[in-house]
Point group: C2
Chain length 254, copies 2
């Protein structure tokens, strides 16, 4: 399957339908094909079709989802754009780094999502927490209002350039030099089930007080997120948690 | 003087004022400042201001020129965008190569122009002949209709990324590694005066028949264009041509 087919662009809470069309056009200009829309305010819409300027197929095939989680549930790599250089200590990539990761992992066969937030304020912290990496497109700090289609265009352009170089052969093909036999990574759904289970156990253990969570789960997510859990590792963890729960219940009963 | 101040974006024969505004916004997003407009159909215009979304200073400082030659007359490096991979045997750069050249030469102090053609058909062959290099932004061959602001955005983004890496220091600073003591290059005006003089002499010598020019001058331009003539070399050539003319006139008289 072509690499392009493993990479999806996700727009979250898009307000203006014209922007959805402009994104479709930018994607098609650079040969991307898969568009996901999370809670678009208006879609389908005549303005989207008009601004797509012929990239109608991308709009027609767009997948509409009710939440970001739904749109990324089968993904192994999720990279979210961040307009601010946030204080969250999650790896912040520049566009080239993000695209290199995306292409290498798509080549291995992973499902890859590149996520763009709402026009006014970008991705929420909750949404950013669902991402393995954040990427930031450098702009003028005093005039950073890059529009949505412009952001997608830059990322799509980087993908096109990287793939073109890889196809040219050895000299520019650094990207594929990075492809190795990567392990079977957990999907987002695997991870979320694990986090839910972990939180449950941490609460049951009294280590985590739901009234004073002290960012404990965020820290857990960050740590496991950096590790990029494999499916087999998650299975091990789930087994551990289940056993712990049995023990704790037994303890209460005894 | 900052490198950015040595680089101008030139839009030729722009039809839609909204595109001029969108270009100004893309430039400001990426910290470019100098916009030249050759024969804009409408400028200034409310739609340009609206689409600039706050990049008004760039519009206010835009220089309007009557011809591309006027807009580039003081430049030592002119790179024109070409939407087609043309048959003209002039060096065709990708965006990264073009931007590397632009930055290196701007760093040396040359005036650099990046030229974008009209929305419908790009730069004319006459305009492309005035450029030292052509650059091509790779797009989907079946959907290549990149809009004007998108093309400028990609180039401006590459400039911003290259400068950011250069500022970071050694590791990414490949670009400035290329800066050497470059010679004083001829400006476009120097060159055009030379080409005019050369053509005159070629006609006077009967080598060039104005009724059957057989692309001779284009070939001359290409050859000298590849060589990137220095000011001193042009002066030598002008001297040679003048002497040849004296001899030819004398020959006719004798």
């Amino acid at each position: 399957m072509p690499i392009i087919q493993k990479i999806r662009i996700i727009l979250v809470d898009t307000t203006h339908p014209g922007n959805i069309g402009a994104v479709a056009r930018a994607m098609k200009n650079m040969e991307l094909a898969r568009l996901y829309l999370v809670n678009p305010l208006y879609f389908p819409h005549a303005e989207a079709t008009a601004r797509a300027a012929g990239a109608d197929d991308i709009l027609q095939n767009a997948v509409v989802a009710e939440s970001l989680l739904e749109a990324i549930q089968d993904c192994q790599l999720v990279i979210g754009t961040s307009s601010r250089v946030r204080s969250l200590p999650i790896a912040l990539l520049d566009p080239k780094e993000a695209v290199t990761k995306a292409i290498v992992e798509a080549k291995v066969g992973y499902e890859v999502a590149l996520v763009f937030g709402t026009e006014s304020s970008g991705l929420s912290n909750e949404e950013l927490k669902l991402c393995h990496y954040h990427m930031h497109i450098p702009t003028n700090t005093e005039f950073a209002s890059l529009n949505l289609a412009a952001a997608v265009l830059i990322i799509a352009y980087e993908i096109k350039m990287a793939l073109a170089k890889a196809e040219e052969g050895e000299e520019g093909g650094d990207v594929f030099g990075l492809v190795q036999q990567l392990p079977e990574l957990a999907t987002v759904v695997d991870q979320e089930c694990f986090y839910t289970h972990l939180e449950e156990v941490l609460i049951q253990s009294n280590f985590l007080d739901p009234k004073k969570p002290r960012h404990l789960m965020e820290r857990m997510r960050r740590m496991f997120g950096r590790a990029r859990l494999e499916r087999a590792e998650i299975n091990i963890w789930r087994g551990v948690l289940t056993e712990l729960q049995k023990k704790m219940i037994k303890g209460v009963i005894e």
